[in-house]
Amino acid sequence: MRRLLFSMPALLLAAPAMAADLNVTVQIPQLDVAEYHRPYTAVWIEREDHTVAAQLAVWYAQKESKEGAGTKWLPELRQWWRRGGRDLQMPVDGVSGATRPAGDQKLSFHEGRAPLGALPAGKYELVVEAAREVGGREVVRVPFTWPASAPQQLDAKGSSELGAVKLDLAP
């Protein structure tokens, strides 16, 4: 028991060295509009040639409504849809989920584990796209190099449908 307790901090310390982390914060802005709907949002990583390296998150209305199931409106996330959204069979474990309310939405991904998987060293862009029923649409891109040699904090800012998008890289 003593031995185990002793080795645990060592394990925790060792963890970052074995698997790099990628933490994303997506700020969904508080909008003062007459008719508010939560945005459909997609988060993914693009290679330099714009192909998808990893699908990280898709938030959409999960329930059937009189206007059809939420999947009907997924093509409104236009860039995501053509970059690979249409290749996915919804729902996707660990990727798709319900729409999120206004505020900072935090996501954590680990090298080697789904949905990030193994990301070969290279240049990438984190892409966040949001589209809102009777609202607007916006795409925010954060370029980054993988893996980071030191902890790195990158960000970009949307102007309407997305607030700050932060990307924390841990080597």
Binding site: G68, A69, T71, K72, L74, P75, R78, Q79, W81, R82, R86, D87, R137, V139
Partner: protein
């Protein structure tokens, strides 16, 4: 009066290749990218001057052929023809790209009787009977025109886009339903199934009514029939080309007029 007006409008539409400023025949789908197990789109089809503003005459829906992703013909549903436009629905029961085409063909003649110009359009079998014996300056041409648009359910596919090998047709290099402003798109133009070299292709964005110029984008096809378009902004675009030759298949036509138009949606980045 109204009847003859309509008639001349149709004649104009048929001679579109020779009168670039004349009426444009078009189909506009309510969506070009759809998803889910049971999506529908609704399509407007009309002939007009302004894109895509129905103010002239409808396209006959019995000319519309929908090709499903498996290559089979799909049903045109809930077709309705009004004064200025036709409307119909397409139920996209399969994943992949659907082609929606209005194909017109037939004989077209112009002639003079007692110094008055007349036009005639119809079936070859009726030609001899319909044209008066004393007609002068009879000019007969065969026409083939295709007006198309495309809708993709999920991932784009190619089976429905196989050319028929007759007349002018467009095949994608960039997927028809995968177009975005700022990204050049490449297509190939075919004439009777072979690359159509050196033809002028023009693209005009819709909403012409709300700007003062057509803002036509003109390109010429290469030896391989290929051409590229740079979309200046997002929107529904009408891509058109036409030509003529003497490879007629119907008697007594001496020349053949061919035209092709497609409505393509370009999305913002």
């Amino acid at each position: 009066m109204k009847r003859s007006l309509k008639w001349s409008a149709l004649a104009l539409a048929m001679t579109l290749p020779l009168a670039a400023q004349a009426h444009k025949m078009w189909m506009v789908p309510s969506a070009t990218n759809v998803s889910g197990a049971d999506p529908w789109v609704t399509v407007d089809a009309a002939v007009s001057n302004d894109l895509f503003y129905a103010d002239h005459m409808p396209v006959q829906t019995d000319r519309v052929i929908v090709t499903a992703p498996d290559g089979q013909t799909a049903k045109v549903e809930n077709a309705f023809t009004g004064q200025y436009r036709s409307v119909f629905d397409v139920h996209l029961t399969q994943p992949g790209t659907y082609k929606i085409a209005a194909v017109n063909g037939g004989l077209f003649a112009s002639y003079e009787v007692d110094g008055q110009k007349r036009r005639w359009r119809g079936e070859p079998a009726n030609f001899a009977k319909d044209i008066p014996a004393g007609a002068k300056n009879v000019e007969v041409s065969e026409s083939i025109s295709r007006v198309e648009t495309f809708v993709t359910n999920g991932k784009p596919s190619d089976a429905a886009l196989k050319p028929s090998g007759k007349g002018l047709e467009l095949v994608p290099v960039t997927a028809f339903t995968d177009l975005a402003a700022g990204e050049p798109a490449t297509f190939q133009l075919l004439l009777d199934g072979k690359p159509a070299a050196g033809l002028k292709v023009s693209a005009i964005a819709g909403e012409t009514r709300y700007r003062n110029a057509q803002e036509e984008i003109d390109v010429t096809t290469g030896k391989d029939g290929k051409f590229s378009l740079n979309w200046p902004h997002a929107g529904m675009y009408w891509v058109n080309t036409s030509t003529q030759d003497d490879k007629t298949s119907l008697k007594p036509a001496k020349q053949r007029r061919l035209s092709y138009s497609a409505t393509l949606e370009v999305l913002p980045q």
